[in-house]
C-alpha cells in the first residue's frame, strides 16, 4: 500500500526544476499535442522517439530509474504481447517461421509491422503521461484542465478525491496490517472476508470523514461551491512554448509519415 501512495504522491513533481516550473497549461497542451502525434502515427519512429525522449527527460528531472521502470513495466509487457499478437493475427506474408518442439509458428510481415506500430504507440503514449505526471502535481493538472474548459464540478470532485485518497490509503494499510497480524489472510476464504471488511471500513470511514470535512468547510464559509483556485495569466513565453510544441509535433508527424 505504501508503494501505491508513493506512486500517487506527486513527490517528484514537487521538486524545483525547469520542467516543474513550467506553467501546467503549457505542459498539458504539450502533452495533448504529443499524444495526438502518437495516436496518429503509422510509423513507429515518432512514438518511439517520444518514448525515449520522455523517459530520458523524466530521468534527468530526478525521477529514479527504479520508479520509471515500475511505471513502465506494465505497458512494456502489453507492448510485447501486442507485437506478438499482431504478428500472429494479421497479414499473409511470412516473415519468420520457426518450429520449436515441432510446432510451426509463423510471424507475418504485415502483422509484425502493425504490431511494431501499435507497441510503439503504447510506449510513446505511456511515456508522455509518465513525464507529464512526473513534472506536474495532480492539482496543477486539474487546474489546467479547469482553465481549458473542463467543468468546475468535475475539478472540485477530482481535487477532493485526490486529497483524501492518501488519508484512506493509510487507513487501508493500517486495517489490513492489523488483520494480517491476527492472521486474517491465512487462507483464501479468510482473505476474502477480511478484504471485504477492509472495504467496508474504508467506505464507512469515508462517510464519517465527509461529515467532518463538511463541518470544517461550513465554518469556513462553504455553501456548495468549492473555490478551485486561480491561475496567473499565460505569458508570451508560455504561448510561444505551446505553439512551438504543437508546430514541432506537426512537423515531426509530416516528416516521419512522409513515405507512408
Amino acid at each position: 500500500m505504501s508503494l501505491l501512495s508513493e506512486l500517487f504522491s506527486d513527490l517528484f513533481a514537487s521538486r524545483d526544476n525547469v520542467m516543474t516550473r513550467l506553467d501546467p497549461r503549457v505542459k498539458v497542451v504539450a502533452a495533448l499535442a504529443l499524444l495526438v502525434g502518437v495516436v496518429f502515427a503509422t510509423s513507429p519512429v515518432l512514438p518511439l522517439a517520444l518514448f525515449v525522449g520522455c523517459a530520458v527527460v523524466a530521468g534527468a528531472g530526478g525521477v529514479p530509474i527504479r520508479f520509471i521502470g515500475m511505471r513502465l513495466a506494465g505497458p512494456l509487457a502489453i507492448a510485447g504481447m501486442l507485437l506478438l499478437l499482431q504478428g500472429l493475427l494479421t497479414g499473409t506474408t511470412p516473415l519468420w517461421s520457426f518450429a520449436p518442439f515441432g510446432m510451426r509458428i509463423t510471424i507475418t510481415a504485415e502483422g509484425w509491422r502493425t504490431g511494431v506500430v501499435m507497441a510503439s504507440r503504447v510506449l510513446g503514449g505511456t511515456g508522455v503521461m509518465l513525464l507529464l505526471s512526473a513534472v506536474t502535481p495532480a492539482h496543477r493538472i486539474f487546474l489546467a484542465l479547469r482553465s481549458m474548459g473542463v467543468s468546475k464540478g468535475w475539478v472540485e470532485i477530482a481535487m477532493l478525491m485526490y486529497r483524501y485518497i492518501f488519508v484512506l490509503l493509510d487507513l487501508t494499510a493500517d486495517v489490513a496490517s492489523a488483520q494480517r497480524l491476527r492472521l486474517g489472510y491465512s487462507s483464501v476464504r479468510r482473505g476474502m472476508s477480511s478484504a471485504g471488511v477492509v472495504a467496508g471500513v474504508v467506505v464507512l470511514r469515508a462517510v464519517d470523514q465527509a461529515v467532518r470535512t463538511n463541518e470544517a468547510m461550513r465554518v469556513r464559509g462553504y455553501r456548495g461551491e468549492i473555490p478551485t483556485g486561480v491561475m496567473r495569466p499565460l505569458t508570451l513565453r508560455d504561448w510561444l512554448l505551446m505553439t512551438a510544441v504543437v508546430v514541432a509535433m506537426g512537423a515531426a508527424h509530416i516528416l516521419t509519415e512522409w513515405n507512408t
Binding site: 504481447m81 461529515v211 456548495g224
Partner: protein
Amino acid sequence: MNRNHTQVALIGLTLLALSQSAGAMHISEGILTPQWAGLWYLLVLPLVAWGLRDLRIKSAREPFFKPMVGLIGAAVFVISCMPVPVPSAGTCSHPCGTGMAAIFIGPALTVLVSSIALLLQALFLSHGGLTTLGANVMSMGVVGALVGYGTFRFGRRLGLAGWLAAFMAGVLSDWATYATTAFELASALHGDESFWRLFGGIGLSFLPTQLPLGIFEGVMAAGVYQFIAARRPSLLVCLGVERAAKGGAE
C-alpha cells in the same frame, strides 16, 4: 492465411498473458486508433455531463453532497487499488468497485467519479490512458455502473436480501465491464481476423481471472453492504439505498 493449431494456441496464450498483465483491465494508452478513441469519447461525454448535472442539482440542495461524493469516490478508488490474490492466475489483480459505487451514489455520479479515478490511474500508475479514457470510462464507469445499479435495484425489487443483491451487482458489473473491455479491444485489434473470433478469444482469456475476480467483487460489495447495514443502517437510508421503513433491512 491458414493458421495451424499451434498458432491458434499461441494466440490464445498471448491473449491470456495480455489479460493478466498489470493494467490490462483498462485499455492501455495508444492502443486505440484515433477513430475508436474519438468514438468512445463521444459516447461517454454526455453521460459524464449527466453525472455533473446530478451533482450540481443535489449539491445546490444540500452542500454536504460534494464532500460526500468526493469521499465516496476516494473510497471506491482506494478499494479498486486493493490487490487481490487471484489463485487461478497466480497474480494479483484488483476489483473495479464501480458496481459497489453505483449502489451507494447511483450510476450518474459513478460515471463522474470513475472518469476522475481513471484519469488519476492513467497519470500516476500508467494504467489505462488519456486517449483511451473514453473507452475505459465506457466499460468501467458506464456499463459497470449501470449493470451494478440495475442489478441491485432489480434484485431488491424481487425481494432479494440486500447483501445478496449487492453480491449479484458486484459480480455482474465486473463481468459486464470485462465483456465491454473485450469488445473494445477486439474491435480495435482484430486486424484481418474476424472480430467475433477475436472477441471470443479475448473473452475466453479473461475468464480464468475474471470469473473468480467477479465473484470476489461480489463478495466485496456484499461485505461493504453488510458492514454498513450492521454498523450504520441509517446511512443506507440517508443515501437512498434502502427505504426508511425497512432501513437496514438485512
